[in-house]
Amino acid sequence: MSFQESQLEVSEPIDPKITPTGLIAGQSPTQLALGRFRRDRLSMISFWIVVFYFLAGIVSPILVKVGVSKPLANDQKLLNIDLGGVPNGAWGGTSWHHLLGVEPRTGTDFLSRLSYGITFSLTIAISATIVAVVIGVVLGIISGFSGGWVDAIIGRFIDMTLSFPQTLMLLALSATGVALFAKILPGDTSDAIPNGVYEVLVLGLFGWPSIARLIRGQVLSIREREFIDAARLSGASRRRIYFKEILPNLWAPVLVQFTLIMPAYVSAEAALSFLGVGIPVPTPTLGNILGDSVNFSGSDFSYFFYPALLLAIIVVSFNLLGDGLRDALDPKGDR
């Protein structure tokens, strides 16, 4: 790119905070990024939706313990048995006691199920994202910093992992994988824990390559900087350079990747439930609620529509938040 004159002139927006002494206070890059982020209305809205979603995930198990929300209680009285267990009343049996109606076939309060489902979906998505990000960042740093044959091997490994059909592998390995985890973890193959652990591990193990590629690119430029030379000269170990010198410079791309991968895993959990390898009922997740709700596409519209809408809101706001963060953290963001 050509070095334009305009690039020299336009720098950060001048927002001088005049201190009492009359001096202009400087702003750190983090403060500038935060300022940029706060000015973007769409990012702020999505930020608060995401916060609300996290809060819902944390609060609902407490509500279940207290007994306010009953995601596992059946109530057949609310259902119309003649129509195949569809709730009585409009909008899936919406009433003051059941704000979003009740679930067909069981009569469980739907709001309770959805909010408790958020807890499990959130746990799975966060854990899978952590697995993917940790592997991706570690291999990305090693690959970018070492170069040479280490880089080549990790590069081929990335290519290969990307070529594997992820969904097919997840489906095909599920029987053995879940059986394996059921042996070492509490619960048998139809319980939530072995299925959840399997899902998290496989999603994470197939998700890291794109992160590793991105981090590698960043590390390639970081390793040429002076402070890395300084660390090397002062005899720092490799591990220290990787995690104490390079890693702190990567938090911005890591954060952005985290917010962009999370929604993909929330969707993936739903897709897997639809294909029959997700968390089994009665444990509610957004995925298995959605997977069941599509059976009622014609007979109970609210049951069909609400979970998909909730998932769409989550995915959209996470994506917007990720975009907003990326723009805000980009030092050239004000151009």
């Binding site: 969904t167 095909a172 998909a308 769409a312």
Partner: protein, 338 residues
């Protein structure tokens, strides 16, 4: 250029070999007994053993992998076991190269099985591809040209919303409402060109294609918009404007060209992934393609089919990667290969 292509193809083949090895390890070193699923739940142990022997499942997995690799190159004969061959020579069946194994569940050679399903998946992928490429690029360009306006926000927002709804939900929504309740389109069921003519083929692919296109389009809207906007601030665009080129010519010859490289990258990989079967969409619309075969064969533990599918899908992705890299050099003269 030629040397580059040859080298890429060579590494591609090596990668496929390594992947087949890994796949064999993952599936055949597992405690699943393939012979068991071949003859049902109440199968006497002796029969399981015999099935295993006939299909070569009794050997350790590296040997099985070797047989498989030889089968791909030269073809192979079943049963594997010489004693079984001698006792029932009339049962010997030949699996011609490239032999990907024998499905003990569907009682058919995997290669034939895959060949039958490929046209369905490829038709679906191509129709969806055309829809999302046309939709994504034109909407992205419109959004970029009206940057900041309500049209821009509407286009970007709507495409993101369509991306956010799960594919299977969207598919069932499209079947339930536009097709069944409102009667706008027919409920699709795959018809080949030979059976229903071009129109019959195309009209049955409309809804499933749309389901996939709505999901994939968001990425293309985004990329096109971003690169068109970026190129608008470039010097060469100012020059083109200054010398009085028609706006349409500027848009198509100069602005869109910048977006072409990233679009080709994304499109190549997306299409390659889809050619191997849209697992969820085929399941929703009950299309009997590779994706549905994948779900069915994993449920019946039809391991030879699963392995064949994994390798076919991987081959699609590897070939697509090579084609994309070659296309780079064609699109962008600055790219040097070799």
């Amino acid at each position: 250029m030629f040397a580059y292509v040859v080298r890429r193809c060579f590494t591609g083949v090596i990668m496929l070999i390594v992947m087949s090895f890994v796949t064999y390890f993952l599936f055949f070193a597992s405690p699943i007994d393939p012979g068991r699923f071949a003859c049902g739940k109440s199968c006497p142990p002796a029969l399981i053993k015999q099935t295993d022997k006939a299909l070569g499942f009794d050997k350790p997995w590296p040997v099985q992998w070797k047989d498989f690799a030889i089968g791909v190159v030269k073809g192979r004969d079943y049963p594997e076991d010489p004693a079984l061959r001698k006792s029932a020579p009339e049962l010997i069946s030949h699996c011609p190269a490239p032999c990907l194994g024998y499905s003990q569940v569907n009682l058919i050679n995997v290669t034939t099985e895959l060949k039958d399903k490929i046209p369905i998946s490829v038709s679906l992928a191509l129709v969806a591809f055309v829809m999302w490429i046309i939709g994504g690029i034109s909407l992205g360009a419109v959004a970029a040209l009206t940057k900041g306006s309500i049209i821009d926000r509407g286009v970007v927002g709507t495409s993101l919303v369509f991306y956010a709804f799960p594919t299977f939900w969207m598919g069932l929504f499209l079947i339930e409402f536009p097709a069944i309740k409102w009667g706008l389109v027919q409920v699709p069921s795959y018809t080949s060109i030979a059976d229903g003519g071009v129109w019959g083929w195309l009209s049955n692919l409309f809804l499933p294609g749309l389901t996939l296109a709505l999901f994939y389009m968001a990425g293309y809207v985004r990329i096109t918009r971003a690169f068109v906007l970026e190129s608008m601030s470039e010097d060469y665009l100012r020059t083109a404007k200054a010398k009085g080129l028609a706006p349409r010519k500027i848009l198509f010859k100069h602005t869109m060209r910048a977006a072409l490289t990233p679009i080709v990258t994304l499109a190549g990989l997306d299409l390659a992934g889809l050619l191997g079967g849209a697992i969820i969409t085929e399941q929703v619309f009950n299309f009997n393609g590779l994706g549905k075969l994948a779900v069915d064969s994993t449920q019946t533990f039809d391991l030879p089919t699963v392995v064949g599918l994994v390798l076919l899908l991987a081959a699609f992705v590897i070939v697509a990667n090579i084609i994309v890299d070659i296309l780079y050099a064609v699109i962008d003269p600055r790219v040097r290969v070799g």
